[in-house]
C-alpha cells in the first residue's frame, strides 16, 4: 500500500493513522517500527528516551509487538555498561513483550554479567532476530559467540569499537558452545575492530563465514575475513581516507532516529 512509502515521514504517517480505522491499521506498524532508548544523560530534551521510558510507554499501550528494531544507546565514552541490573522484573516484562523484534543494537553490553541468565533475558528474541549490533561489548570471545548463537536466524552482524577479547579464557568459558549456527549470510559491519580471536572462533564453530556484504573501517583482520568470504562476498565497502567514514557506518542507527516517534 502507498502508505508504506511514508516510512521515513512521521508527520505523514501520523496524519494517515488519523484518517480512518483502515489507514490506522496500515500506518501504525510503520509508526512503531523502531524504538530507541538511552541512558538519559545526553541532554534535557533527550529525557523522553531515557531507559526504560520508551519501552514502558509502548508496553502500556500494547505496542511492543509492533516494534521490529530496538536500539539501546549508552554513552560509549562515559563507560556506562549495560548490565543485568538494567533488566529488573518490571523491565524484563517489557523486554519479553518484544515478540517480533528483528534488529537489536546494544551499546556497552557487559556479557560476562549476563551469562547466568542470558537465555531468560534474550532467549525470547531467538525466532525473529535477524540483525545484531554490539557497540563496545565486554566479555570473552566464547561469551560473545554464545550470545550470537542464541539467535538461529541471525543474518547481519555489526561490531563497533570492539575491545580485544583475545585474553585467556576461563574453564567455564571454554565449555561454552553456541546453541545454534546462525546463517550469517547478510551484512557484516566492523569498525575499530580488533577481535581477530572472535572471528577465528566464529569460523571454527559456525563452519566458516558466508557474508555477502562487508563494511570495514579500521579493522585488523580484513585479510582473514576476505579470505573466508571469498566465495560469497558480493559487496565490499571501504572508507580508507574518509574522516567521516565511521559516521557513515552508523547510518542504520541514524535511520533508527529518523523512524523513532
Amino acid at each position: 500500500m502507498i502508505i508504506a512509502y511514508f516510512i521515513y515521514d512521521k508527520r505523514a504517517l501520523i496524519a494517515c493513522s488519523m484518517t480512518c480505522y483502515l489507514w490506522y491499521i496500515v500506518a501504525v506498524p510503520h509508526l512503531h517500527y523502531s524504538l530507541t532508548t538511552e541512558d538519559g544523560c545526553y541532554s534535557w530534551d533527550r529525557m523522553r528516551y531515557e531507559w526504560p521510558t520508551p519501552l514502558q510507554k509502548s508496553y502500556d499501550l500494547g505496542l511492543l509487538p509492533l516494534v521490529k528494531r530496538l536500539q539501546i544507546r549508552l554513552g560509549l565514552w562515559r563507560n556506562i555498561k549495560f548490565t543485568p541490573e538494567w533488566i529488573d522484573r518490571r523491565t524484563l516484562r517489557y523486554f519479553t513483550a518484544l515478540t517480533n523484534l528483528q534488529e537489536l543494537g546494544i551499546d556497552n553490553l557487559q556479557l560476562s554479567r549476563f551469562m547466568p541468565n542470558i537465555q531468560q533475558c534474550f532467549g525470547h528474541l531467538s525466532p525473529t532476530l535477524r540483525f545484531l549490533a554490539l557497540g563496545e561489548p565486554t566479555g570473552s570471545c566464547r561469551q560473545i559467540l554464545y550470545f550470537i548463537g542464541i539467535f538461529p536466524n541471525l543474518q547481519d552482524l555489526k561490531f563497533h569499537r570492539s575491545l580485544p577479547t583475545d585474553g585467556p579464557e576461563s574453564t567455564a568459558d571454554a565449555a561454552l558452545v553456541p546453541l545454534s549456527v546462525p546463517p550469517l549470510r547478510g551484512r557484516l559491519t566492523l569498525a575499530h575492530f580488533a577481535g581477530e580471536g572472535l572471528v577465528r572462533d566464529m569460523i571454527t564453530y559456525f563452519g566458516g563465514l558466508r557474508f555477502r556484504s562487508m563494511d570495514l573501517f579500521e579493522v585488523g583482520c580484513a585479510r582473514l575475513l576476505l579470505y573466508e568470504c571469498r566465495k560469497t562476498l558480493e559487496t565490499l565497502r571501504l572508507y580508507p581516507n574518509d574522516p567521516y567514514g565511521e559516521e557513515f557506518l552508523g547510518r542504520r542507527e541514524e535511520d533508527t532516529q529518523v523512524r523513532d516517534l
Partner: protein, 156 residues
C-alpha cells in the same frame, strides 16, 4: 601503507563473487596519492571476471550543504550551505575523475555515482553529478567502457 602491505590486508585475488566495491567521496582524496594507490592496488588484485561496479557515495557535505541541527529539529528543510565550500567541492569532484582514470587502468569497472542526501537536496545533487559527467565526457576524460551511472538515495 605500501602496496605490498596493503595487498596482504585486502587481497581479492581469491574472491570469485565480488560485484560491488563501494566507498565515499571523502575517501577519494585527490590531493594525495593515498586514495589512488589504495584502490588501484585493491582493484589490481581482483582476478574474477564478474563485472564490477565501483560505487562512490556523495553526501550532503560533498555538495556544500550542511544541516544545522538546531534548525533541522524544527524545520526539516533547514539547510546551510557555503558558496565557497560549494566551489571547492566542485573542483574536488572534477579532480576525482583523475583518480578514477588511474583506477580504471588497474581493472575495468562501471562507475556508479550515488547521491546519498536528504530529500530536499536530491535534485540539486543528481543534477550536479550529471553536469560533472557531461563535462568529463566533453573533455574526453571518460575512459570507462560504460557510461557512469548516477543514482540517488534519499531520506526526508
Amino acid at each position: 601503507m605500501d602496496s605490498h602491505t596493503l595487498l596482504q590486508h585486502f587481497d581479492l585475488s581469491r574472491n570469485t563473487s565480488l560485484r560491488t566495491l563501494e566507498t565515499t567521496a571523502g575517501s577519494i582524496d585527490h590531493t594525495s596519492d593515498t586514495a589512488s594507490d589504495f584502490f588501484v592496488t585493491i582493484l589490481s588484485s581482483v582476478t574474477s571476471p564478474v563485472p564490477l561496479d565501483f560505487v562512490v557515495i556523495y553526501r550532503d557535505g560533498d555538495f556544500g550543504f550542511f544541516s544545522n541541527p538546531s534548525i533541522f529539529d524544527s524545520e526539516p528543510d533547514g539547510y546551510l550551505y557555503a558558496l565557497d565550500q560549494m566551489n571547492d567541492r566542485a573542483l574536488l569532484r572534477q579532480k576525482q575523475f583523475g583518480v578514477f582514470r588511474e583506477m580504471h587502468g588497474a581493472r575495468n569497472f562501471r562507475l556508479v555515482l550515488c547521491a546519498d542526501v536528504l530529500d530536499s537536496v536530491v535534485r540539486h545533487a543528481t543534477k550536479t553529478l550529471e553536469c560533472l559527467v557531461e563535462t568529463e565526457e566533453a573533455k574526453g576524460g571518460l575512459v570507462h567502457r560504460y557510461k557512469p551511472l548516477i543514482i540517488s538515495v534519499s531520506a526526508l
